[in-house]
Symmetry: C2
Subunit: 359 residues, 2 copies
Amino acid sequence: MQVYNFNAGPAAMPREVILKAQAEFADYHGCGYSIIEESHRAAPFDEIIQAAEANLRKLLDIPENYDVLFLQGGASLQFAMIPMNLQVPGKKIGYADTGVWANKAIKEIDIQGLDKEVVFNGKDINYTEIQGIKDWKIDQDLAYFGICVNNTIYGTEYPVFPETGNVPLVADMSSDILSRKFDVKKFGLIFAGAQKNVGPAGLTLVIIRKDLAERCPANVPTMLRYSTHMEAKSLYNTPPTFAIYMHRLITDWMLENGGLDAMEKLDDLKAKTLYDFIDNSGFYRATAAPSSRSRMNVCFRLPTEDQEKAFIAYAKQNGLVGLKGHRKVGGCRASIYNAVPLAGVERLIEVMKDFQKQA
Amino acid sequence: MQVYNFNAGPAAMPREVILKAQAEFADYHGCGYSIIEESHRAAPFDEIIQAAEANLRKLLDIPENYDVLFLQGGASLQFAMIPMNLQVPGKKIGYADTGVWANKAIKEIDIQGLDKEVVFNGKDINYTEIQGIKDWKIDQDLAYFGICVNNTIYGTEYPVFPETGNVPLVADMSSDILSRKFDVKKFGLIFAGAQKNVGPAGLTLVIIRKDLAERCPANVPTMLRYSTHMEAKSLYNTPPTFAIYMHRLITDWMLENGGLDAMEKLDDLKAKTLYDFIDNSGFYRATAAPSSRSRMNVCFRLPTEDQEKAFIAYAKQNGLVGLKGHRKVGGCRASIYNAVPLAGVERLIEVMKDFQKQA
């Protein structure tokens, strides 16, 4: 039976990438051992990390005055590192509260004793919509302004980005990076846990405008300073070599399959196909407001919780896994990252139709 | 040609483990996809992380009042996290300076503005020996006392541990954990980057006496507090799932192959065989003092630097890779972690003999 993996992260990777990694796992390019056993200072890994950076620069058209870093610790460590590094004495940090992950980032600002200004608060509407983005008033005296671009738990995504003027825009793109085009120059710092759209767990991407790293106070530990990793080209200490290797293969795959244009087009089509089916089903109900619907995580409900449980079990029997919603909100969620093919979405719709008939 | 990998880390893994990981890489236990694509909240990964902890507890006989954590960031992040968490207002932190890694840990104490007391300074003897360990006077008013147990760059290793009384002993065991028996109860905290003896890069093990986590000041970021990861059983955020999976397979392999008794015996034999050959060669020269020689990283010199270069190239032609010494000290280094078989050491000696004959 063909299995489709709709997990929210760690998540599906392109089948071709998995098979390639398997084929060369025990003997990398004829060296006699695995790439997972290779020194991070040896030529084969040097080629990998350079190719990974070049791929990312090509896919996202990253300007020269931005560095690309391969770090560890996930977006959750970035929630702490960003205020540590980008704070400015006497200035507040701005944030938009669009759900759990934005909330966690805001909490770290408090823990560090820094002042904040929350510009949008989606709590009262259960985070089902990101409202009025173009009308947000961004105080030009903020140290930076932070957003979580795609909210996996609630299935919302910024359709456009706020205009922050001279205030550096800091964006958590953990769950939608490399799914659509955007202008890197509009951002001060972009970060992403790789384990959703672009690699395995254990790798965190950071794209940082170089000048911002100069703000960092002297008492920030070495490993938590962006400048440490910028100067060392992500090799200050041993990086997560195998995760970077997988990320390289995945970005190779993206380039071989039409780059960001093709990814965006396919992701839009997959999301539209699934939302259209849900909206017209008379049975399933999408939870996010149409204006803010995530193209990556499609959250939906059935008429009753019992039916949701039954549907998730039925889907699993039919080879569709990872459809349970996040424990904070319940319901169902289909994460349809780049690596989930259109055929996976079509199969999901078939199974949803079959379940509806018998419900 | 049979290749042997003597890299200092990332390093050789047991061949059986590599082949097993390869065999099940594309379809984990019949689930239809790779374990690297599996959710960290799903049952298959839950089984893996629990088995990994159970293996480690069994191998090291870890008492109930210690937690085992699977973290990210390497030993270098621990250099910062340990003083952040284990500081005590008004108390100094003690450390023994046995080389580069101990030095980096000491530097982080300074960066955080904490007071330190360096008990042993090996710099004047080029870090070739760890002298007088049993005679070190450990001030009983220290917050904790830190050591780096095995010094990969200089090829030294503590033959015994200092007696620290009531002062918690904090040990960096990155490069020799699970190579010999020791009493966990003598330590307050043990940490290890996994990428040498026990897994791939991207995973950091921490074994912590539970009460020590209570010291942490309130302004330490969430991800940098041990208590966060203790409460969440290493699942506060997405852990490096594939690295934990590999660590589990490696600890399975250790248990299947006689556990720590067998590892220690074999590691001792491999090291003795290689040092004996070097000492009796009349050509090669071990750099570490006999009292402090590492059983993991055998550092040695040839009569001239040109001969060293020629030897490293000759060994590579004969399938022996990773023999170059660390760039800080030059020379040669054979890292003979658990996964390097005795046959690898014997082959190295053969090649060293051949090279000596023609030199």
